[in-house]
């Protein structure tokens, strides 16, 4: 068994530096790598490019990095819910590349699985396809989209083991599995870190080969963006 455990978030993020490109898992605030984001704020590195489906809210998630003006460019499918984001984008401080959500997921998976590019119908005939190669297959039009290239992937899982194997919970899975192994170094933070052999090999969502470093995360807030409930009557 190849051991991937590191002591803490500080060790886990060794090697990050200004100007790098990061992938960050999560959908809204669900399943985001809270510890890694906090550490990026602490380290104060600048000019980051973030590949992340969303951009957090003003005071949480990637919003924390936006507050400190650490992000140079966001690559996302949806960036609402964030006033500071809007201010920086409209003022030209922040570069934004909007990508269809399924294309974003597959550009990560392509990087993970060694595909240089892929054809998707999403965005054909729209400004997303401008300047990109398009092509017809079986009478339908597709856009060629290249795989992402990133320096680090930061993902959050529910359970993990020393070998780097990961299991996600509910819809906190989202982009996290697609980003594992999609960057040069994948850092996984987990709610529960277990000895190798604790997880059923049949139930693992992401094999440890896709993860370089894993650590026990701390103090998860797991904020809810839209608390919707029904009455019990």
């Amino acid at each position: 068994m190849i051991k991937k455990t590191v002591a803490n978030v500080r060790e886990a993020l060794e090697g990050v530096s200004d100007g790098m490109t990061f992938m960050l898992g999560g959908f809204g605030l669900c399943g985001i790598p809270e510890n890694a984001i906090a550490q990026l704020v602490t380290l104060g590195i600048k000019d980051i490019t973030c590949i992340s489906n969303n951009a957090g809210v003003d005071d949480f998630g990637l919003g924390l990095l936006l507050q400190e003006h650490q992000i140079k460019k966001m690559i996302s499918s949806y960036v609402g819910e964030n006033d500071e984001f809007e201010r920086q984008m409209l003022s030209g401080e922040l570069e934004v590349e909007l990508t269809p959500q399924g294309t974003l997921a597959e550009k990560c998976r392509a990087a993970q699985a060694g595909f240089p590019a892929f054809y998707t119908p999403a965005g054909y005939g729209t400004e997303v396809a401008e300047g990109k190669e398009t092509r017809e297959f079986d009478g339908k039009m597709y856009v060629l989209e290249p795989a992402y290239k990133a320096d680090f992937s930061f993902v959050k899982a529910w359970k993990g083991d020393e070998a780097g194997n990961l299991i996600f919970k509910g819809t906190a899975r989202n982009f996290n599995p697609c980003m594992c192994g999609a960057a040069k170094i994948t850092v996984a933070e987990v709610e529960e870190l277990l000895p190798a052999g604790s997880l059923d090999p049949n139930e693992i969502h992401i094999p440890g080969i896709f993860v370089q470093r894993i650590f026990q995360g701390v103090e998860y807030e797991k904020r809810i963006e839209q608390r919707t409930v029904r009455s019990r009557n």
Binding site: F27, G102, T126, R173, S231
Partner: protein, 217 residues
């Protein structure tokens, strides 16, 4: 004239037994409330869940179980969770039978614009471009005219497109229309709405053939 719930209720009648359905944010979300309970339908949310149920009871919210609108949800028996690549595999691979979403504009050829207004803050297309590029059956739920009173059913979209030639049906506060090769074919009038009112409110080509029935309520 229909209100938002009325539009949702009418669209719910398009949901057939055995359908997997993806509901967009806004009016489409309301559709789930009106689907007949004698048919089997599963709702997919593109953030990675199939078999969504109602909102949780207070105190039972789970931050790890949300829909694409970031709302806390529950799951029903037979539900499953999966990653985003698999989720869009379901959508792109046409395993989802019906997509219902809102729009700012629909053109008579089925083009749709619903993600960007130049000059305004652009929040992004989310999964809409994937959904409209892939789904075999797309129904748009929207008001027939915008706040300025201008038609949202156009000859050509004026806003940046989300997808081309993809919308199959449009249900508005005034009417139900099918998108055909020749334009919007008027199928039903909303209660109390005349054909003339619909004609006036529709900028794109509207085909009115024979007697147009009033929607069943």
């Amino acid at each position: 004239m229909l209100d938002k719930n009325g539009i949702a209720k009418r669209i719910a009648r398009e949901v057939k037994d055995g359908y997997y359905v993806n509901l967009g944010i806004g009016i489409p979300t309301l559709v789930a409330n009106f689907v007949r309970d004698d048919i089997s339908v599963e709702f997919q949310s593109e953030n990675g869940v199939l078999g969504m149920g109602p909102f949780p009871f207070e105190g039972e919210e789970d931050a790890d179980v949300i829909n694409a609108g970031k709302q806390t949800i529950t799951t029903l028996p037979g539900a499953s969770f999966f990653d985003s690549a698999t989720s869009f595999g379901m959508i792109r691979g046409q395993h989802v039978d019906l997509t219902i979403l809102g729009a700012m504009e629909v053109a008579e050829n089925g083009d749709i614009a619903n993600w960007k207004i130049p000059g305004k803050m652009v929040k992004g297309m989310g999964g809409a471009m994937d959904l409209v590029a892939s789904a075999e059956n797309i129904i748009v739920a929207m008001m027939h005219t915008n706040k300025a009173g201008k038609s949202k059913l156009l000859k050509e979209c004026t806003l940046p497109l989300t997808g081309v030639g993809c919308v199959k049906k449009v249900v508005t506060n005034l009417a139900v229309m099918e998108v055909t090769q020749d334009g919007f074919k008027l199928l039903e009038r909303a209660p109390g709405v005349s054909v003339d009112e619909i004609v006036v409110a529709t900028e794109g080509k509207l085909l009115v053939e024979g007697e147009i029935p009033e929607m069943e309520s």
